[in-house]
Subunit: 296 residues, 4 copies
C-alpha cells in the first residue's frame, strides 16, 4: 500500500518507522524536514506539503500535536483532504476533541474518502517497539482495510463503534485515568514520606501487587524517585488533553471532580513554568504543598 | 506453635482456616461463637475470652473491625495483653490507626511481649486461597519468628521497618489508592456512557492494557456493570479507613485533595443509607450526579 | 438621545423601562414582540430587526442571553453593526466572554462606532428600581458619553479601564463570588441542620452581622428556607456563566478550586433536570448529599 | 458581680478590660502574669490558679486557645470546676469542639454549677470596642443571668437553644464561612490580576456593593493588597478550627467540599512554615499556584 504519514514528533517517527520496516511505501510530511532524515535514509519518501504526501496515498496517517494542527494539515491549503484520492482513508491518531473528528469525518465523506479515529496509548519507546495500544472508531469498511497496518504499530486494537468521536473520548478518558493514578500515587507516597516511610518501598509494594500494571510501574517509579525524566509528554501538552476532556464533560453535563483536580495540578505546574519534565511531574505539586521543598 | 486467632469475620475465618490447615494448634475467640462452628469442626479450639485464647499462645492474631474493637480485645478485661505469656507475639492484622499500633506496642513491651503490625490486602476469596498481600512493621526478631505463619496466609510480605505504625499507614494508603481507582473509573465510564460509549467496553480495554491489575480488573467490573455485589467491605467500613487516613494526613500536615473526594463520596453514600453493597458502590455518586438515575 | 434596546427578558424590560421613563426616545427589538407590549404602550417604538432598531440610534443597548445571541444581533443579517450610524455606541450589558467583547469591539472600531462592555449586577426587581450596579470597560470617550444613561439604570458605575474585556471578567468573577457564597452557606446550614440547629437561625445571625450584605441576605434566605423562588436566573443560565469563567481561567492559566466546585454543583443540578428554580437551588446538592432528602 | 476571667490573649485582655470598666470585680488568671499587668493596674485582681480565680466568682469566663487548654483550666488540678461555688456559671468563649462543651456541661451539672457556650466573633480591635458578636447555647436560666455581662463585651447576642454544643457548631461554621469568603476572593482577584485587572479595584467594587459586609471589607483588603497584617489569628490557629469543623462534619455524616478546600489551603500554608501572617494569608496559595510568585 501507499502510505502517507504526517507529523514526525517522537511518536510519529516511531510509528512511521514501523510501517516502513514492513515494506510499504511511506511518504512523509512534517513541518521541519530534519526530523525525517533517518526515515528518508531508510527508504521513505519526502513530500513538501500534506497535499503532496496524500496525493497518491491509499492511507494517510496523521499524528500531530492538537486540533488546530490537524485542521491545518487536513483542511489547510494545500491540505490532505483535497488531495487524497477517492476511496482513500485518513487514519487520525492525534489526541484531539471528538467534535473535531466528527467534523473532519463529515468533510471526508463529502469527498468520498474515509476518516477513522485511531488514537494510541504508549510512550515513545513503546511506539518504537510496535507495541502501542490502539482504539478506533468510525466507518466499518475503512477500519477493516487499515487493520493490517494497525497491527504493524500496535499490539492490540479496541473498537468503539461507528461514532467517529468515540475513540477520541476513550483516549481522553485514558489519559485522565493515568492522571488520576499519578495524583493518587503522589498523595500516597507523600503521606508515607511525611510519616517516615520510604517512597520507593511503597511503590515497590503497590506496583507489584494490587496495582501491578504498566501505569503504576512506570509513572510510579518517576513519582517515587521524584525524577521526572525522560519526557514522554510535557505538562503543557497533557494539560491540553485534560482541557479537551473537561470540554467533553461540560458538553455532556458530567461532573468530574477528579478531572478538575488533575487539570488544576497541571495548570499550577504550567503556571509556574515547570515545563521540561514529564507530565507526571505535576506530582511535585503534592509534595510541595506538603512542605517538602522543590525537586523539580 | 500455639496460635490464638481473635476476630472471625469473613477475613478472620479464612485466615485462621489456613493456619489450621497447616497443623498448628489454633484457639479461636469471637464475640459470637456461631461464626466459629466450621473451624471448630475442623479441629480448632474455642476460648470464651480473648485472655483465655491468648493464655497459652506463642502467637495471637487479631483481625477485628476497628481501633476500639482492637483495644477492647487487647486491653479490656479479660484482654489478651495480660494473658499472653512472656515472649509471645501479637500479630495485629486489622486496619487501624498507626497511633493505636504505637500505643499497643508500647504496652506489649512493658509486658515483655511483642506487637507486630501486619495489615493485609485482599478480598475474602483471596484470603481463603491464602493469597493475601501482607505488609508488616515492628520488632525485627518478632517479625522473623512469625514469618512462617504469614506465608500460610499470604503470597508475599512487604516490610516497612521498625516503626510499628508504618505498616498501618501503608495499609490506609493502599485502601486510598483503591478508592482513587474506583472514583477515576466511575468518572471515566460515566463520561463514556454520557457520550454513547459502552461502560464495559471501556473497562475491557483499560483493565487489559495500561491498567491490567487486579484492582482495575475486579472493582472495575463492578463499576462497569453497576452491580456492586458481592460485598467485600461496606461503604461504612471503608469510610472509617478513609477517616483514619485523613487523620494521619492532618497530623502529618499533608494536603490530600483526592483523599478528601473519596471520603466525601463515601460520606454521601453512607448519608443516603446505601449500606448493603460493596464500597465500590460509591461510584454510583458519580453517575447519579451526571443525571443517570439510580442503580444502587 | 435616540436609544435602541435589544433584548427584552426580565432584565432588559426593566432597564429599557427606566430609560423610557426619563423621556429618551427608545426603540425596542426582541425576538418575540409580546414582551414589548407594556413598553410600547408607554411610548417606546418597535423595530422589526436589530438593524432597524440601531439605524437611527445614538446608543444601542444589548441585553441578551449569551455570546451567540449577542453575535447574532450584532453581526447577523440584518444586525446592528452595519446599521449603527458612525459615532454610535453599543453598550453591551450581557454576561458574555471577554473575548467576544474584544472581537466585537474590533468590528465596531472598523465601522467608526464604539463598543462598551457594561455588564450589570442585580436581580430583576433591582433592575426595575433602577438600582443595578454596573461595571464598564472600553473606550474612554464613549464611556463618558453614555454615563448619564447608565445613571438611569443603576445606582453606581465601576470602571475597569480600556481593555474592553475587563468588565466581562469582573462580571464573571462577581457571579462566581455569589456562587461561592451560596455553596458556603449551603454547607454551613446543612452542617447546622445535621447537628440540630435551625437553618434560619444561622442565616439570621450571619446575614445580620459579619455577612450583612445583600448576597447573604437574599440568596441566604432561599438557602435557609430551601425555597428557591422566585427565579432570578436558572441553574442552566448561570452554569453557562461559570463555564465562561472557567474558560477565562483556563486561558489565563489560573487554578480555581472553588470555581470547579460551583460549576460541578450546577452541572449536577442541570444533569438531574432541576430547571425551574433559582440557581441558588444548587444548594440542594449539599443537603441531598448529606442524606436530608429532596426539597427541590 | 464577682467575675473571674481566665485566658489573657489579645481577645481575653480586651474582653476582661470591658468587664472591668463597668465596675465589676474582675479576678484574672493567665499562664503568664505579664499579660495581665495593664489590667491589674486598672483594678483587676490576680489569682495564681484557675481554682483561686473561680473560688469566689459568680461567673467565670474562659477564653483559651483550644480544647485541651480549656480542659486543663477546668478539670486540671487546681481547676475551676471544683472551686466554682454552687450556682456559679462558667461562660466558655473559646472556639472548641461541641463535644468538649457537652462533656464539660455535664461535669458542671454534677457540681450544681452551669456551663454556657458563648463563642465570639470579631478581631481584637472589635473586642476592645466591646462590639463582638456573640452566640450562646446552654441552660436558659444561666443565659439570662449572664446577659448583662455579655452586653458589656458585645453588640449583640444570638441564641441557639439548650444543646450546649450548638453555639460551638455555629462558631465553627462562622469561621468556615469566613474561610470560604477568603478563598473565593483569592480566586476572583487572582483571576482578575492574570487578566490585567487591578485587585484593589475588584475589591473596592464588590466590598461596597453586593458584598458590603465586614468580612469582605476587612479580609478582602488584605487579599487585594496581599499584605496579611496585622495578625488577628495565625494560619495554624484557624487550621485547628477547620479541623474541628471537619470532625463535626464527619461525625454528623455531612460532606463539605468547600470545607475540605479551605482546610487544604491552610494545611499547605502551615506545611510551608508560613506562620507569622494573618490566616487570610492562605490566599497566597491561590496566587502562587497561578504562577504569580510569593508575596508572603
Amino acid at each position: 500500500m501507499n502510505i502517507a504519514f504526517i507529523g514526525l514528533g517522537q511518536m510519529g517517527r516511531a510509528m512511521s518507522g514501523n510501517l516502513l520496516k514492513s515494506h510499504h511505501t511511506v511518504t512523509l510530511f512534517n513541518r521541519s524536514r530534519s526530523k525525517a532524515e533517518d526515515l528518508l535514509a531508510a527508504g521513505a519518501r519526502w513530500a513538501d506539503t500534506p497535499a503532496e504526501a496524500a496525493s497518491e496515498a491509499d492511507v494517510v496517517f496523521t499524528m500531530v500535536s492538537d486540533d488546530s494542527a490537524l485542521e491545518e494539515v487536513t483542511l489547510g491549503d494545500p491540505g490532505l483532504l483535497n488531495a487524497l484520492p477517492e476511496g482513500g482513508i485518513h487514519v487520525s491518531c492525534s489526541t484531539i476533541s471528538p467534535d473535531t473528528s466528527r467534523r473532519l469525518a463529515a468533510e471526508h465523506e463529502l469527498k468520498k474518502t474515509a476518516y477513522v479515529a485511531c488514537p494510541v496509548f504508549g510512550k515513545p519507546e513503546v511506539a518504537e517497539a510496535g507495541r502501542l495500544w490502539l482504539c478506533q472508531s468510525g466507518n466499518p469498511a475503512a477500519k477493516e482495510r487499515i487493520r493490517p497496518l494497525l497491527d504493524l504499530i500496535g499490539q492490540g486494537v479496541f473498537d468503539f463503534g461507528e461514532d467517529v468521536g468515540a475513540a477520541n473520548v476513550v483516549k481522553l478518558a485514558g489519559n485522565f485515568l493515568i492522571g488520576c493514578a499519578i495524583e493518587a500515587m503522589a498523595e500516597a507516597f507523600t503521606l508515607g514520606e511525611k510519616n517516615g516511610i520510604d517512597r520507593k518501598a511503597m511503590w515497590e509494594m503497590f506496583s507489584s501487587t494490587l496495582f501491578a500494571a504498566p501505569v503504576y510501574r512506570n509513572y510510579g517509579k518517576m513519582i517515587a524517585e521524584e525524577h521526572y525524566q525522560p519526557v514522554g509528554a510535557t505538562p503543557a501538552l497533557i494539560r491540553k488533553d485534560m482541557r479537551l476532556l473537561l470540554e467533553v464533560a461540560q458538553q455532556s453535563v458530567t461532573p468530574m471532580p477528579f478531572g478538575n483536580i488533575v487539570f488544576q495540578q497541571l495548570t499550577a505546574t504550567v503556571a509556574k513554568n515547570i515545563g521540561h519534565i514529564d507530565w507526571a511531574g505535576f506530582a511535585g505539586e503534592v509534595s510541595e504543598n506538603a512542605g517538602l521543598g522543590k525537586k523539580r
